[in-house]
Amino acid sequence: MQTVLKNKYKTYGNRFRKKHMKTSIFSVGLILLQIHTCLVADALKDTLTNLLDEKNSVDMVSLDNLSITGKSGSRVHFKKRSANTVIATVKGHKIRKKEADTFLKEVTKGKVNDFDRLSEKQRRQVIKELVKIYELKHRKSRPPTAVVATVNGVDISKKEADSFLSRVTAGKVKDFDKLDKKQQKLLITDLAKPIIVKQEAYKQLTKKEKEGVLRQVWLEKQKSSIEVSSDEMLALYEEKKTQSLAINLNAVIPPYLSIGKQLKNEIIEKKITQKLMKDVEIEILDDHNQSKSTRHTPAIQESSSVKKEK
């Protein structure tokens, strides 16, 4: 009996030990996984931070070798100077350290705000940019009528360039002369596109095509300004219905709603023709070149029409 009990406890003990061991392995696994995840997450975070740093440093000033986070890269030893220290002079104008700090803060989105932390090369670059900004700021603007560029021989006035610049920058920059040469060239290239397309259109479209396009545009413009009432549409529908039934008593008349658009267009066209033909002067030249003038009177006069002054 004792042996049986002993064996039973042994079995339970083994089972318990096995179960406990399984739990331990599982726990160790979880801990390892957590550590691994943390490591991977850290690596990912670092990569992303580095990526962000690289992206931010691209703009104007290269921030190579500069440790922003303090995690990696060689630290530059520096001596901090006062904000009013003159770091450069342009045509007698003093550029102070605080200007460079503000500029740095802006381009690095607040990550670097001390000029003295930069390497010699980086400092030179910052000063170069600040000089450029100073020169642009103090450059005298030309009058609005001044020709700032030519596109295929077509003059572009400063007024046009300013207006385009204001449009593309949503009103933030308004003076073409405040841009550097590269920016000016880019802006004029963009401004040139519609000018060049227009030149090609006038050159390549035939006279007939041009006339057709302008006719169409004028007609569309008229159509959008003409109003048609439902009474007018209904009257035309009834007129058409009567006409059809007069020809054929068994004619199939489509429902009013199905031809509404068609009726509206017909009325609009009629109104445009009436407007065009009002007080029009037609002169028929006969074979012997004797002319006789006739004045065309439209069938229905518009009540509100006013004689066009010639």
Partner: protein, 160 residues
Amino acid sequence: MYKKLTTIVLIMLFATVELWAVTAATVNGIEISVAEANKALEVISQGKQRWKELSREEKKQLIQMIAPSKLVFEASQKELSQREKDAALSGVWMQKSIANIAVSDERAKAAYEKMKKASKAEKNKEKIPAFEQVKQSIKMQLAQEELLTKLMKKAEIKLK
């Protein structure tokens, strides 16, 4: 012989030009040539009548039919602003030129994937439509870009 032939050809040529230029009528001072009138008559009478065979009343009726088209052109010239004219002509020319540029499905698909990737990178929450839905507009956009690049290469831009 050669001289005579040249003279005959020249006389015939002048006669044709003169016939073409003969004015049938004027509408608000705008000339309508006999050729234009005959062209319209050919459609209306199915080639059965000519301008010179018409009575004065018939001629008047025909000119009244032609007049609106002439007047629309006159009105478009007078009433549309230069900017409107330029925009309309540029638009039509652009469409016409783009229609001649072939963009393959593969190129359009590549551009679509690029846009999709860029949208994802920007964490844009807007749903990106399926390729088939936007294929035509992408093709048009690519054709337009190609045309503009070609034009800009030829352009002479000078900064002053």
